[in-house]
């Protein structure tokens, strides 16, 4: 009986959290004039909002841009983050701890603080209005390094020694021996990085001006907030749904690893 009450309560809370999302999806599939109602399923089902959306902005192009940027950033973070994490966890060298604490310290700096120096750098490098500005600065991040370092510290030294005797160099040890047994950590870092990169709005708005290079959140934000949606709430909701879908699909596929790794590392995002 107590369990039943607990489940009812849980379902209630889950519904409270899910409802705005459900409403967004069903409203985006309803007629513009029915959107004001509080509903569960679409009223007068139609794809009209999406058709209009596709006609007014290059949303598919921006989807491709977002995919390219988020994928490149994620690959960079996984490769470089694991390399730094491995060196910090498994190599003894002068200044190792100092470097680690410095990396930890950068986590405490708010993004806004580095926004202007970073922008000036991008201008100096001539990277504004190019993917380089979106990808390269995001390719290393402290959170990934720390997560990898903690994970690699838990791997028995014997395994690394065995690989070394078998003839592996450091890169091979990392990518052929450690990566295959670190899948949950890779997936966690991958999902978090991908989501963060995917949802990034402020930085792209600053460094990208060309519409053909814009990422989806940037384009959708400029569209929904910037007035091009002509105040039509249905189209705004359709663009928001388009924006959320890829990340939700990715999460559903990888959620098992994601939760497992979060539980293992004892971290909460």
């Amino acid at each position: 009986m107590r369990k039943a009450i607990l489940y009812i309560l849980l379902c209630l809370f889950a519904f409270v959290f899910l409802y705005p999302f459900i409403w967004m999806v069903s409203a985006s599939l309803s007629e513009e004039r029915s959107i004001k109602d509080i509903v569960l399923t679409p009223v007068h089902f139609t794809f009209e909002q999406y058709t209009k959306l596709f006609q007014s902005i290059p949303i598919l192009g921006s989807l491709a841009n977002s995919l390219i940027v988020a994928t490149a950033v994620t690959a960079g973070v996984l490769i470089l983050g694991s390399m730094v994490g491995y060196a910090l966890a498994r190599h003894r060298f002068a200044g190792r701890n100092a470097i680690f604490y410095l990396i930890l310290f950068t986590m405490t700096l708010p993004f806004q603080l580095t926004l202007i120096p970073n922008y000036i750098l991008m201008v100096e490098f001539g990277w504004t209005n190019s993917f380089a500005a979106l990808i390269i600065p995001a390719m290393l991040n402290a959170f990934a390094i720390i997560l990898f370092r903690q994970h690699f510290m838990s791997i028995p030294q014997d395994l690394i020694d065995a690989a070394r005797i078998d003839g592996c160099n450091e890169l091979r040890i990392l990518f052929q021996v450690l990566w295959p047994i670190s899948v949950p950590t890779l997936i966690t870092v991958g999902i978090i990085t991908f989501m963060t990169s995917w949802n990034e709005v402020l930085w792209p708005i600053i460094v990208i001006r060309k519409e053909s290079l814009m990422t989806m959140p940037q384009l959708v934000t400029l569209y929904a907030v910037g007035g091009r949606s002509l105040g039509q709430i249905g189209m705004k909701l359709a663009s928001a749904t388009m924006l959320a879908m890829p990340i939700i699909i990715a999460y559903l596929i990888f959620q098992k690893y994601f939760i497992q790794s979060m539980a293992n590392s004892g971290l909460k995002e």
Binding site: P156, D158, L159, D161, A162, I165, G167, V177
Partner: protein, 365 residues
């Protein structure tokens, strides 16, 4: 196949020497066991030989070649680790083939060599399985197979049996010994278990606090321990070591004055009266002297506890602070708490200098 020469090895961590001035001359095809308590430097020594730790000072020769600065993979060694260190994401076959693949051995030869090695360690039916689905003993066999397949000049074992249960340990001990003899590969084996050392080694190197205590054959080590540490370390149960004095009449009396034994004719010639540590192995104490052997000397003790092991019975008693252990035949009838006469075989006694701890040698006077 190769000799291994360890010359004046030192491993320094800051101000601490984990290994001090260690020299070992290991012959071709020899099975040498490095043995000692935790922290004695035995694993560090092995890791230096493998190339996994830098040698702070000293020289290492494998064959005729100085290999101090040679990478582990090029030292022509294979190592078996305590927790097997198998690659969990690879099958047994891939685990064994990994090193050969990196050496760019042709695929056909890899196949053949892995299959041969698998046959030697009895793993043929398991080649397609992953290590996670194997038992502890099978995993250790994969680790052995991975070492064999490389066809190395030297095998290094770092406490390979510690994670196995007692029965399996005895079985694997024999298998490793047999395999080593069959393949004739020079082997260096690290363990803290003196039984493993005694049963497997051609020669044992006993270490303590980074220092070599004695490097000798198991029987020599058992019969002529070089110092008090080796005397207490080799042999199970451990040797009884009793501190006391020898007087003019060559009678030994322990510090509590309760234990007396006449040593006329059994002391090394170099001993005069004075302080001494007397060593008696539990197996040289007997419950009776039916044959009237002259070297047997009676002592009176009161047993605190008796442990019947089936094949023998262990008798425990107190002499001062020291727990005195005797290994008696199982049919010996003794009850705890009652004064009992036992017989010490004086021809098998060991004598040590109480100050230096060194063995006192010399002909019996």
């Amino acid at each position: 196949m190769a000799e291994v020469k360890v010359i004046n090895f030192i491993k320094r961590y800051g101000d601490v020497d984990a290994v001090s001035n260690l020299s070992l001359d290991i012959k071709d095809k020899e099975f040498v066991v490095l043995c000692g308590p935790s922290g004695c430097g035995k694993s560090t020594t092995l890791r230096m030989i493998a190339g996994l730790e830098d040698i702070s000072s000293g020289e290492l020769y494998i064959g005729d070649k100085l290999v101090n600065s040679v990478a582990p993979k090029d030292r022509d060694i294979a190592m078996v680790f305590q927790n097997y260190a198998l690659y969990p994401h690879m099958t047994v076959f891939q685990n064994m083939a990994f090193g050969l693949k990196l050496k760019k051995v042709p695929q056909k030869e890899i196949q053949q060599r892995v299959e041969e090695a698998a046959k030697v360690v009895g793993l043929e039916p398991y080649l397609k399985r992953k290590p996670g689905t194997l038992s502890g003993g099978q995993r250790q066999r994969v680790a052995l197979g991975r070492a064999i397949v490389r066809n190395p000049r030297v095998f290094l074992f770092d406490e390979p049996l510690s994670n196995l249960d007692a029965k399996l340990r005895v079985q694997m001990r024999m298998e490793i010994s047999r395999l080593q003899r069959k393949l004739g590969v020079t082997t260096i084996y690290v363990t803290h278990d003196q039984t493993e050392a005694m049963t497997m080694a051609d020669r044992i190197a006993v270490m303590k606090d980074g220092l070599l205590q004695q490097f000798d054959t198991p029987m020599n080590m058992y019969n002529y321990p070089a110092n008090l540490f080796v005397a207490g370390f080799i042999g199970s149960p451990a040797m009884n070591l009793i501190t006391g004095q020898v007087d003019e009449s060559m009678e030994f009396t322990d510090v509590t004055q309760k234990f007396k034994i006449q040593l006329q004719g059994y002391l090394p010639s170099s001993v005069s009266k004075g302080a001494m540590v007397l060593g008696v192995r539990p197996e040289n104490i007997h419950g009776d002297n039916g044959l009237n052997i002259s070297s047997y000397s009676p002592i009176s003790i009161t047993p605190d506890a008796i442990e019947p092991m089936g094949s023998d019975s262990f008798l425990y008693s107190k002499i001062g602070d020291h727990t005195f252990i005797a290994r008696l035949r199982p049919e010996t009838h003794i009850s705890t708490g009652q004064v009992t006469t036992l017989f010490i075989d004086r021809s098998k006694l060991h004598f040590f200098n109480p100050e230096t701890g060194e063995r006192i040698t010399g002909n019996k006077q």
